[in-house]
């Protein structure tokens, strides 16, 4: 296995009681790239995503991260290896302030936090770093606001700040632009480009213009199988891809 391959799935398969959602998918993500997974509705993108992050257990295939076989690992342990996912529906902690949202990710650095006898004052040392991360995504003015009260685009920004607090080697983003206004899309796009500088990003995304402008490589999925792979210029001219999108009546 080559040094510059960070994530590799081979023969990835998921069957739900007779229905094959993902069938024999091979996927190779190169270190330092932005890799997008696209496909019409029902193509199995989200299933595929959940398999890679171990939120679903594959019925077949092998997943390797940095050469290590992670197929049988628990999702929390994968996060500890530096492979961190986001969620399609905004994944903030609604009853905690924005600062606390970021701080809970920073808190992972302490190892496990079973110390119920200690005051949470011991976490105050993380506040400045949390504030810096909030500033990074333009949320300084909202640090004391409960995350549940933030507007949608801000929640996504907060989610990214929380993810970045773990300083992950690789990020898996599940439809980062879903339900966003154009203004938010522009802001999050530039944020993703900025954080990709020394990281690998793998994302499932519906918005094709975002995919076109951001990704180095694109894998197209249809009916649970890989249809095409390459850069945007290649896949967008592929007749099977055009058929899959227009044939299924996407958009």
């Amino acid at each position: 296995m080559s040094e510059d391959i960070i994530l590799q799935a081979s023969g990835l398969t998921k069957e739900f009681k007779g229905f094959v959602a993902v069938s024999n998918v091979d996927l190779t993500v190169r270190r330092g790239t932005i890799h997008a997974l696209i496909g019409p509705n029902g193509a199995g993108k989200t299933t595929c995503f959940n398999l890679l992050t171990k939120f679903l257990q594959p019925t077949g295939g092998v997943i390797r991260y940095n050469g290590q076989d992670i197929t049988a690992m628990q999702p929390a342990d994968i996060a500890r290896l530096g492979l961190v996912r986001s969620f399609q529906i905004s994944a903030v902690f609604p009853k905690m302030s924005a600062l606390e949202n970021v701080r809970i990710a920073l808190q992972r650095r302490r190892g496990d936090s079973f110390d119920f006898w200690r005051s949470e004052k011991v976490l105050a040392g993380l506040n400045h770093e949390a504030a810096a991360l909030l500033e990074d995504v333009g949320l300084t003015d909202f640090s004391a606001t409960l995350a549940g009260e933030l507007p949608y685009g801000r929640k996504r920004a907060l989610e990214i700040a929380t993810t970045l607090a773990l300083d992950p080697e690789m990020l898996l983003l599940d439809e980062p632009m879903a339900g966003m206004t154009q203004e938010d899309i522009d802001r999050i796009s530039s944020l993703i480009r900025r954080i990709s500088a020394n990281r690998t990003i793998f994302m499932v995304e519906h918005n094709l213009s975002v995919v076109a402008s951001l990704s180095d490589r694109i894998t197209v999925l249809a009916r649970g199988e890989v249809l095409a792979e390459g850069d945007y210029a290649t896949v967008s001219k592929d007749s099977r891809v055009i058929d899959a999108y227009i044939g299924v009546g996407h958009g």
Partner: protein
């Protein structure tokens, strides 16, 4: 950086306890303590001790439900189970009351570890059903086992001597001991909520998948809070057995699991002080309306319906919203 420091170092109203206990909470705790010190001279001490035991029970339950997001429908198992152990320890083994209560607490923790490690594998209503099923097993065990006394329970439990020295027979002596036990229990719960562990709990309550994706092994935290909650519920039950000199099937029956849910919801789930108020209201109703017999149950039912329909956040939850501060 210096300009950033000031707003971060001051305690923020939106999230309590970042810089220790907020003044408001200190004032409320002090007020409750003063009330607790005056109460036995105004009210019947045994009644107030009953309120105190249920306040601790409800707060222990709220630790699991309001801060861990786990609805157990079998907390009577720990409350009642501990009361049997405490009564047995005081009566048969002749332990002093503080040791009997410790024994009950320890037994509840062990029981919580056994049941919790199985129950936390399920979520939502299935979690509640598993806890209920195990609590029913504890109930049937209590009916059948020789040492529990079956329908009679364990009666005439000696109150004993605190540390083997101070007689607990006079109500007032016992009262101040119980007040101390419950106060410590409540402060322990407060600390758990406002610890690094408590932060993780709130994260799991708010969004468990996200906590997993951040690398937290959430099951272990859920089990830990389950055991803590069971142990503290056990402290409450063990203390009650010493107060009433009785351990009976009532405390281990499923209706007791329901009552603690009612107390917590009425007072305000996920608030610090709500369950104390909820327990006081329900115990007071049961005591002063006891002459109406079964009508008390109907009254409780009506209160429950009103609470769910009109103020879901509970009495203290509504107050907290009005003053815009966590209580």
């Amino acid at each position: 950086m210096a300009t950033q420091a000031s707003p971060l170092d001051t305690p923020r109203a939106a999230s309590p306890g970042t810089a220790g206990m907020p003044v408001l909470h200190m004032v409320i705790f002090a007020g409750l303590l003063v009330l607790g010190l005056i109460a036995p001279y105004v009210l019947y001490p045994v009644f107030v001790m009953k309120v105190l035991c249920f306040a601790l029970f409800a707060c222990a339950f709220n630790l699991l439900l309001g801060f861990g997001g786990l609805l157990s429908f079998g907390h009577a198992a720990y409350f009642g189970g501990a009361s049997y152990v405490s009564a047995h320890a005081a009566k048969i083994w002749g332990l002093s009351p503080e040791l009997a209560i410790l024994a009950g607490t320890g037994a509840a923790a062990v029981l919580g570890l056994a049941i919790g490690s199985l129950a936390i594998r399920r979520q939502g209503i299935y979690f509640a059903m598993v806890t209920l099923a195990f609590a029913q097993m504890v109930f049937f065990f209590s009916v059948q086992a020789p040492f529990t006394g079956g329908e009679d329970g364990i009666q005439s439990v000696p109150r004993g001597h605190l540390f083997g020295l101070i007689s607990m027979a006079p109500d007032r002596n016992l009262y101040f001991f119980v007040l101390a036990v419950v106060s410590i229990g409540l402060l322990v719960i407060y600390r758990i909520i406002h610890s690094p562990f408590g932060q993780v709990l709130k994260g799991i309550r708010d969004n468990e998948p996200r906590m997993i994706s951040l690398g937290y092994r959430t099951r272990r935290y859920k089990l830990a809070v389950f055991v803590l909650s069971a142990a503290l519920a056990g402290t409450a039950g063990a203390t009650k057995a010493i107060v009433f000199q009785l351990a009976s099937l009532t405390d281990v029956y499923w209706t007791m699991s329901g009552e603690v849910v009612l107390m917590t919801l009425l007072g305000g789930m996920g608030t610090v002080f709500g369950p104390i108020l909820g327990a006081a209201v329900i115990v007071t109703m049961q005591n002063y309306l006891a002459t109406f017999g079964d009508w008390v149950t109907i009254g409780q039912g009506i209160i429950f319906v009103v609470a769910v329909m009109l103020f879901r956040e509970g009495i203290v939850g509504v107050l907290a919203r009005i003053i815009k501060r966590p209580l």
